[in-house]
């Protein structure tokens, strides 16, 4: 169990904001922090990592107290078993990829851990390159591998995939989910991307100006808990064409383009680029072995 219950007065662009969090996260789950910028998501990650101190409250991870304002416990970041992937990746420019990973080793660890990570995250060819010669996606992979070297109790990801194109995203999402399954990692993920959240997160916490406004399963939250479709996907509207009195809407779901027929009422509020959910429950799907 990971218990996060703390408050902190933050100075936000619009003046002071009180961040108030009280959540329990199941071990081994992926939790998404959702909210517009300035809602306090990054601050929450920083407080979990020990880079920022809450004013009051407690942080308890796997039965160990990391922070307790009343008991004056505040473990420094060095003593918290946490992996953090920064928005800017924070790779050390003076070291090669391999050295960046070696740097993370703790005393009684062997380099086997690193060899394994290099293999899983496919960094073999990049080992001797310096970070400034890498592309965004490659840097991201190195940062992810580095955060995992010490096999932390929690992995914190701060909008890790926002700078990447769709193909890279999909690839990295699967890398992260692989690691998640392999090490039973608890992950807290800051992300805005609906499809990413639906794909990765078990739980979702919606923040607004420092307060939790909603929490639950991502699919429930995104669909306002109204639809109970058996088949549902999210995608992006690519084009809308009029055919007689109906519309044909092309929607990009992951890498597939799907055409859906819609009537005028449904199209009224849509513009190209909108994120939409495609759901259906009144048909019988056919399953065919590939």
């Amino acid at each position: 169990m990971i218990k996060l219950k703390f408050q902190k007065l933050l100075s936000a662009p619009k003046g002071e904001m009180n961040l108030d969090l009280d959540i329990v996260i199941k071990e081994g789950s992926v939790t998404n922090l959702f909210g517009s910028s300035g809602a306090g998501k990054t601050s929450i990650l920083r407080m979990i990592a020990g880079l920022m101190m809450p004013d009051t409250g407690r942080i308890i991870v796997k039965g160990k107290t990391w922070f307790d304002a009343e008991k004056h416990i505040n473990l420094p970041p060095q003593e918290r078993r946490v992996g953090l992937v920064f928005q800017d990746f924070a790779l050390f420019p003076n070291m090669t990829v391999r050295q960046n990973l070696d740097y993370a080793l703790v005393r009684n660890q062997t380099i086997k851990v690193i060899d394994e990570l290099i293999e899983i995250i496919a960094l073999g060819d990049l080992q001797n390159r310096k970070p400034d010669t890498l592309s965004g996606g490659q840097r991201q992979r190195v940062a992810l591998a580095r955060a995992l070297v010490q096999q932390p109790d929690i992995l914190l990801l701060d909008e890790p995939l926002s700078a990447l194109d769709q193909k890279m995203r999909t690839e990295l999402q699967s890398h992260i989910m692989n690691m998640h399954r392999r090490y039973g990692l608890s992950i807290i993920l800051v992300s805005h991307d609906v499809s990413e959240i639906l794909k990765m997160a078990d739980e979702m916490i919606v923040l607004k100006e420092g307060n939790v406004t909603d929490k639950g399963r991502p699919a429930d939250i995104f669909t306002n808990r109204k639809v109970s479709g058996k088949f549902q996907f999210t995608g992006e509207v690519i084009s809308m064409e009029r055919e007689g009195f109906l519309y044909i809407i092309s929607i990009l779901i992951a890498n597939d383009l799907v055409k859906v027929i819609a009537d005028e009422d449904e199209v009224k509020n849509l513009v190209i680029g909108d994120k939409v959910m495609v759901a259906s429950k009144a048909f019988n799907p056919i399953i065919k072995k590939l």
Partner: protein
Amino acid sequence: MIDWDPLILTFELASVTTFILLFISVPLAYWLSESKSRIKPVIETIVSMPLVLPPTVLGFYLLLAFSPGDGLGQWLDEYLGLRLVFSFEGLVFASILYSLPFMVHPIQSGLSSLSGTLKEASYVLGKSKFHTLMKVLLPNIKPSILTGIILSFAHTIGEFGVVLMIGGNMPGKTKVASIAIYDEVESLNYSAANTYSLILIFFCFIILLLVYVINGGYLKKFWQ
């Protein structure tokens, strides 16, 4: 032929001063770049004072402080056997104070320019502040450290007022090149003064050129 002693003494003084300064300035610059303490502006001001004060002011007070006749100077003389007036040790001490901003400022601004997430990433990976400074921060500000070293070295070569006040003009002991030039001019020996001056111009040009070549990445381009 000119007497080479003043030139040798000058470079000796500059080397020793720069070497000691490096060890003082790294922790000081690190503290200045990290600290949110209320006394930080005061310390920053003190470090920068030699930039604006006439060197003679510094020299004058050091002379008073270290003269073996009173207080501090007497104590140093009696207990440490250290006489800082009219001695090489005294010159080194004065030069360290005088060149302090030239070493501290580049290192401090180098450290401040690094992204804060670098050291945070290192802390989260379980590394101590000292380890982070040595392995992550300093290696990434090599150009700033080089600039600090070269500037302090060059600035110490160019010292005159402080040295004259606290060191005097003792051949082989405190008579550095800048004093020797003054001395030669006083005794109307222009050609010797000219030789010393040309040598200094040449050396300072080479030293500063090195900084710009190395920090500008010209060397790298040349080698590749």
